[in-house]
Amino acid sequence: MNWLTNFVRPKIQRLVRPREVPENLWDKCPQCGHMIFHRDLAKTLSVCPHCDHHMRLEVKARLASLFDGGQYQRIELPKSVVDPLKFRDSKRYVDRLRDSQAKTSEQDAIVVAHGKIGGTNTVIAAFNFAFMGGSMGMAVGDGIVAAAELAILQDAALILIPASGGARMQEGILSLMQMARTTVAVDKVKEKGLPYIVLLTDPTTGGVSASFAMLGDIHISEPGAVIGFAGARVIETTIREKLPDGFQRAEYLLEHGMVDMVVHRHKLPETLATLLGLLRHRGPAGQVLSLPVDIPDSFETDTGD
């Protein structure tokens, strides 16, 4: 409350008060507080142009930013069992689902697509945080299983992009089972010798972090992403101590040996293309080299300068 609200007549108040910012046109950077016009934010892939803070990136923009030329095909996901526990808290789970579906125009919290990255066939399963906080239930599990199967079918690399608070409580024990289920799915891809890369984005916590997300051949994280098992508030309450700055952030995980690299969002396509090329023995000209017999008879000599 300031003096305006209390003492100035409403008409004047309206004149003096800063104009309400329309929510859909401007976004506020949670780190530096700058207001950013939505078109500018789209151009920077939701990276703050003032302080480089990586805000959450909408899932379709994410896919378009990673696949070569923004080209990809989504696959239709199988119909999952809906509300297996007939769960209700203050609201029925089916109603929450319906609300989220209406809000996001998506069926659940995962999107699976395939295309090429740096010329390498790649399947991506990306979490949609806008859908119930990206929580993992049957449908998300189904999406990951489908993505893994598609990668094997296409002899493609698999990239999973979690953005999730963890298991979906409304599906109870069945959401817990997704931890085991998704582990089998990604292990099948690994057994085929296909690259499995996890791109950890903000947030990757709980049951999602403690299953497929920590099992990649390579772990890449976006700067500042919160990655961990237990929530910071839970830990603070348990140990009755304030947690250090940067706890459970991407950089903290890098220092503690859990991720291979922290990569700026704008550098991700390039980094992924390079890695996939190296892992799939793709030569600079795009030819596939493989061991042991197909070694190039004239090694290139233009490397390193």
Binding site: D260, M261, T274, L278, L279, P292, I295, E300, T301, G304
Partner: protein
């Protein structure tokens, strides 16, 4: 340029050349002639000195601060280098650097010790002395390379594994043991190069390769000359004698069949011409890699194991 003690006469001559280069007012032709004469003398002196370096002198050359380090080799030999970090359990140890890259067209996993080149980077890389998490990272990356059928290249340059309470508490011995085990288990070509110092367990943890190359003036030993001297001679001053006794030079190790090939260094040692050193090593690696890439994985593994099983059958004559 940093000069070693035994390089003093060379340093003096080169100092004179430098002085002459800055004299421009007197007779230019005479100066050029004098510079040429002195340069020939320097070359002759270098040749004489470096053709008969003692093991102790080699130890100093192997540790020369201007000697090319892992990061120099990577920068010149490996394109698209993508470092990979962490042991997935405790920390990322920067004493060992590893990652994927392309060596003359071929995908490779490069792993090695990095000593650093100035105070700041030496501290960052802990002077190339790795802790358990470093060896666990190395193991993880070797296993990854095996999984994707990518050859492994290890470059060894360490005084030894880090001796410390924390390292022991986390299982330094176990970490080194597993790293050696992994070297001997993978089914892809493993080429190891001793580029500077090959210090003890910390070195062989990365060096049980199908082919072990060693730079002409590098050293490789079970213990540092200083350490050996203080234990057996009970005096660090005996390091010179210990260096002789340990047979730690590339020439002795080749005769003992512990290493497979000696990679020549340019006149006056690798530190005098890092560029030539690096490209020469690149050629040696390429030759070995081409041969090894033609061999089936199971055979590569079996031969590597046989080779290390048979170590020590040859003595010095």
């Amino acid at each position: 340029m940093n000069f070693l003690d035994f390089e003093k006469p060379i340093a003096e001559l080169e100092g004179k050349i430098e002085e002459l280069r800055h004299l421009s007012d007197s007779d230019e032709i005479n100066i050029a002639e004098e510079i040429n004469r002195l340069q020939l003398k320097v070359d002759k002196l270098l040749r004489a000195t470096y053709s008969k370096l003692s093991p102790w002198q080699k130890s100093q050359v192997a540790r020369h601060p201007d000697r090319p380090h892992l990061s120099d080799y990577i920068a010149r030999l490996v394109s698209d280098f993508t470092p990979l970090a962490g042991d997935r359990s405790f920390a990322d140890d920067k004493a060992i650097i590893g990652g994927l890259g392309r060596f003359r067209g071929q995908s490779v996993m490069v792993i090695g010790h990095e000593k650093g080149h100035d105070t700041e980077s030496r501290v960052l890389h802990n002077f190339g002395m790795a802790k358990p998490e470093g060896y666990r990272k190395a193991r993880r990356l070797m296993e990854m390379a095996d999984h994707f059928r990518i050859p492994v290249l290890t470059l060894v340059d360490t005084a030894g594994a880090y001796p410390g309470v924390d390292a022991e508490a986390r299982g330094q011995a176990e970490a080194i043991a597993r790293s050696i085990e992994t070297c001997l288990d993978i089914r892809v070509p493993l080429i190891s190069v001793i580029i500077g110092e090959g210090g003890s367990g910390g070195a062989i943890a990365l060096a049980a390769g199908n082919v072990v190359l060693m730079l002409e003036h590098a050293i490789y030993s079970v213990i540092s000359p200083e350490g050996c001297a203080s234990i057996l001679w009970r005096s660090g001053d005996a390091a010179k004698d210990a260096a002789e006794a340990l047979r730690l030079t590339a020439q002795d190790l080749h005769a003992l069949e512990v290493i497979d090939e000696i990679v020549p260094e340019p006149l006056g040692g690798a530190h005098r011409n890092p560029e030539v050193t690096i490209s020469t090593l690149g050629d040696h690696i390429e030759r070995s890699l081409k041969t090894l890439c033609l061999i089936e994985g199971g055979v590569l593994r079996a031969r590597r194991r046989e080779k290390f099983l048979a170590m020590g059958k040859v003595g010095l004559s």
